[in-house]
């Protein structure tokens, strides 16, 4: 009994000491500052230098940005209002925002590209977020045809007859599958081609004469500004991914002919700068087409941009395929899956997941590359900034236009990049 502690030591505390506040240097903001900004003399110097640079930038730009003029008819008017003080003249955006967004699109039809953009977001949602009802994917499938009609207008039967080609392919596939799998694939490819070549034209012409409904036709050369960037960018992005996957698979194929075609295509496109392809689209093709046929310039550019992005995409996806352990392929074979099933169920889901950062990189690069069309005389936002500056009212204005254009591009690219991070987190299955 005498061995218990209370009897062998002089004093035992039987209550807890009240918690003391940590030393001032070990808590709150001071601790954070000490650990993150001033953890050594080198870091302290760098911190101070960085602060100086930030201060210097803010001091230079801040007053200019804060002293912004939003309402003026010309740069001269802006300067009179500013009266010698430094200040931004965002009145040019106020005056020309509709041109930067829509180009020369007729102003009474601005609702059409706007609606097309809203529908784009709506139709992207089920593709991007899997927790939405799967039925919405039908909306996404219909979107290209709806958007075409909204943007270009004309007879409504043209996009309808184009869409019916895919329906024909699907129907042929379903019926032929009852006979033979390989036959079904052929039927699915040949039926739409047959439809487009021989039946779509009379179908379109017939219905157009019987029921001439549709929005007013807007010509491609009315397109400009962000409208053109988005049309080229979105089409290029959505077409280059499937094309890129096919090219990547083709490059890995054992069939010599398929493989060499894919390799030659990829290496050729990657060996040529995009600007060269754009010049080819704009200049060279004209000479080889029969005179009088004006093959739409925007369409030519979209094709070139898509092919360009597809070649890069193929290499990104090939990287993903190469990163898969050999065992995955063998496991798919062992399960008795055929080539397409193995790709669809085992290989591609993993390869694409690995490739997400690279794919997104290509997407963002493609979207920004659309500004290169300025060199072939298409008035994208950069081209329009030039044209706006050529107006005597706004001659001499630079930063305001570029800040506006840059901000919009940043918005899109940042959005894409945030989504890709979300996707990576969601698909993360390993334990690293």
């Amino acid at each position: 009994m005498s061995n218990i502690e209370a009897h062998t030591v002089a004093y035992v505390r039987d209550t807890m000491l009240p918690e003391q506040t940590p030393p001032i240097t070990e808590k709150g903001a001071v601790k954070w500052l000490r650990e993150n900004l001033f953890s050594g003399w080198l870091n302290s110097v760098l911190t101070v230098l960085s602060l100086l640079v930030i201060w210097w930038a803010l001091a230079a730009i801040g007053p200019w940005l804060l002293n912004t003029i939003w309402n003026a008819g010309s740069l001269r008017e802006c300067r009179e209002i500013l009266d010698g003080t430094p200040g931004a003249c965002f009145a040019v955006i106020n005056d020309r925002w509709h041109q930067l967004l829509f180009g020369f699109y007729p102003s009474q039809h601005y609702w059409r590209p706007t609606l097309a953009f809203v529908l784009l977001l709506a139709s992207l949602a089920p593709v991007l977020f899997t927790n939405l009802p799967r039925k919405l994917l039908y909306v996404s499938a219909a979107y290209p045809f709806v958007a075409y009609h909204l943007l270009w207008g004309g007879s409504i039967w043209l996009p309808v007859s184009a869409a019916l080609g895919f329906v024909a392919g699907f129907v042929a596939f379903v019926f032929a599958r009852r006979v033979n799998g390989l036959l079904a694939v052929f039927a699915a490819v040949l039926a739409p081609i047959f439809w487009w070549l021989f039946l779509a034209q009379p179908f379109n012409a017939g219905l157009s004469s019987v029921l001439p409904i549709g929005l007013e036709f807007v010509r491609s050369d009315r397109f400009g500004g962000f409208l053109i960037s988005l049309v080229i960018g979105v089409t290029g992005i959505s077409l280059s991914l499937p094309l890129g996957i096919l090219l990547a698979l083709g490059r890995q194929s054992d069939m010599v002919f398929v493989k060499s075609v894919c390799v030659i295509f990829i290496e050729f496109i990657r060996g040529v700068p995009l600007i060269t392809l754009l010049f080819t689209a704009s200049l060279l093709l004209n000479y080889f087409l029969p005179p009088g046929t004006s093959f739409d310039l925007i369409l030519r550019v979209i094709i070139m941009v898509t092919l360009f992005a597809a070649a890069y995409m193929a290499e990104v996806i090939r990287g993903g395929l190469a990163a898969l352990p050999r065992g995955q392929y063998e496991a798919a074979d062992a399960l008795g899956l055929d080539y397409w099933k193995a790709q669809r169920l085992i290989i591609m889901p993993q390869a694409l997941k690995i490739s997400i950062p690279g794919i997104v990189n290509t997407f963002i690069g493609l979207f920004k590359d659309t500004t290169l069309v300025v060199f072939i005389g298409l008035l994208d936002p950069i081209g329009l900034s030039n044209a706006i500056r050529a107006d005597t009212d706004w001659n001499g204005i630079y930063w305001e236009l570029f800040i506006f254009i840059g901000a919009l591009f940043f918005l899109f690219c940042f959005g894409i990049s945030r989504y890709s991070m979300y996707l990576e987190r969601k698909l993360k299955t390993d334990h690293r």
Partner: protein, 339 residues
């Protein structure tokens, strides 16, 4: 060998295209109901879209006059923005019917590229702009200067010629666009900015303090700018050429957009009568009707009115007539007789 075959095929294709297009530009425009006119993607005073997307400017007015003469509607023009690289192939391939785009008339363009310059609607020349504070008053004092110069243009070659001929040295600061040049020049990256005088005037007008900069008196090159059409369609070439001359002659004869309708009823001057179609059948010879010139002049005025409205001294660009005055006023604007 392969290359030459390719070039041969290329030339043959363009030749076939050219022949097929010959003699039918006018019909094609009448069928289409609008004129395809190649303009620059934006050059202050010469061509630029306004806030409503309507193209305005000195070159643009020329297209509108041609459209008015043919189609009786100055707005029936489809403006195709072209860059320095795409302009000639756009014309050669038939994408545009005519170019009205600050294009210098040179030997190789006229002969080698198989184009036809129908005349000169603006006599430009290369000049220098310097800040007033460096105190230079002549191009001869520019020895050792740093010069902002657009790469790949004739201005680059002219500059080298000028400095070599005068035994002076310079340091080029290569830049890509006019906009970049303005920024570089204002930031002091170069002492001198050189380009065409009209461009210098437009640039200077855009500065916050235009009076702090002077355009030196030396003009070191000839830059006759004018509308261009393809070779091979004499009728179309004649329409564009004589529309241009009609605008020039109208100024000389005192025909303006205000009085053209009235004078078209008939006057005492046979020359005016022939121009405006109350005498003779000049319109028929062009394949147009007799009022073609009346409509061209009514579209945006005679040559002097177009000049004054777009680049003249009352505009921010503020160009004097100079070489572009009528020959009777000591300039070079000289329309052959309507006879």
């Amino acid at each position: 060998m392969k290359k030459s075959i390719f070039i041969g095929a290329f030339a043959a294709t363009s030749l076939v295209a050219g022949v097929a297009q010959a003699q039918q530009t006018l019909e094609a425009i009448l069928d289409r109901g609008e004129l395809n006119c190649g303009v620059s993607t934006g050059l202050a005073g010469f061509s630029a879209p306004d806030a409503n997307g309507v193209w305005q400017g000195f070159d643009v007015a020329k297209c509108r006059a041609v459209a008015a003469a043919i189609l009786d509607d100055p707005m029936a023009v489809n403006f195709v923005p072209t860059t320095g690289q795409t302009r000639f192939s756009a014309l050669a391939s038939g994408e545009v019917d005519m170019l009205a785009r600050n294009t210098t008339w040179t030997f190789t363009r006229d002969i080698d590229l198989r184009l036809t310059f129908v005349g000169t609607n603006y006599y430009d020349g290369q000049g220098f702009m310097v800040p007033r504070e460096i105190g230079v008053s002549s191009g001869m004092e520019l020895d050792g200067a740093t010069v902002c110069i657009q790469t790949g243009t004739t201005t680059e070659l002219n500059l080298a010629d000028f400095f070599r001929a005068n035994g002076m040295e310079y340091e080029p600061v290569p830049i890509e666009t006019n906009a970049e040049a303005q920024q570089q020049y204002l930031a002091g990256a170069c002492d001198v900015y050189t380009t065409d005088v009209s461009g210098l005037a437009a640039t200077r007008a855009s500065f916050g303090e235009p009076d702090d900069h002077v355009i030196l008196p030396e003009v070191i090159s000839k830059e006759p700018l004018g509308p261009v059409v393809r070779d091979g369609d004499k009728n179309w070439e004649g329409i564009v050429r004589w529309t241009l001359f009609a605008l020039m002659a109208a100024e000389e004869l005192g025909v303006t957009s205000a009085n053209v309708e009235e004078l078209a009823q008939g006057t005492d001057s046979p020359e005016i009568n022939r121009l405006l179609g109350s005498e003779g059948d000049f319109g028929d010879m062009l394949g147009l009707d007799s009022d073609w010139a009346v409509r061209a002049i009514a579209a945006s005025g005679n040559y002097g009115e177009i000049f004054a409205a777009n680049i003249g001294e009352q505009t921010p660009i503020g160009l004097a007539r100079g070489l572009n005055a009528q020959w009777t006023q000591g300039g070079l604007i000289y329309a052959p007789p309507f006879r």
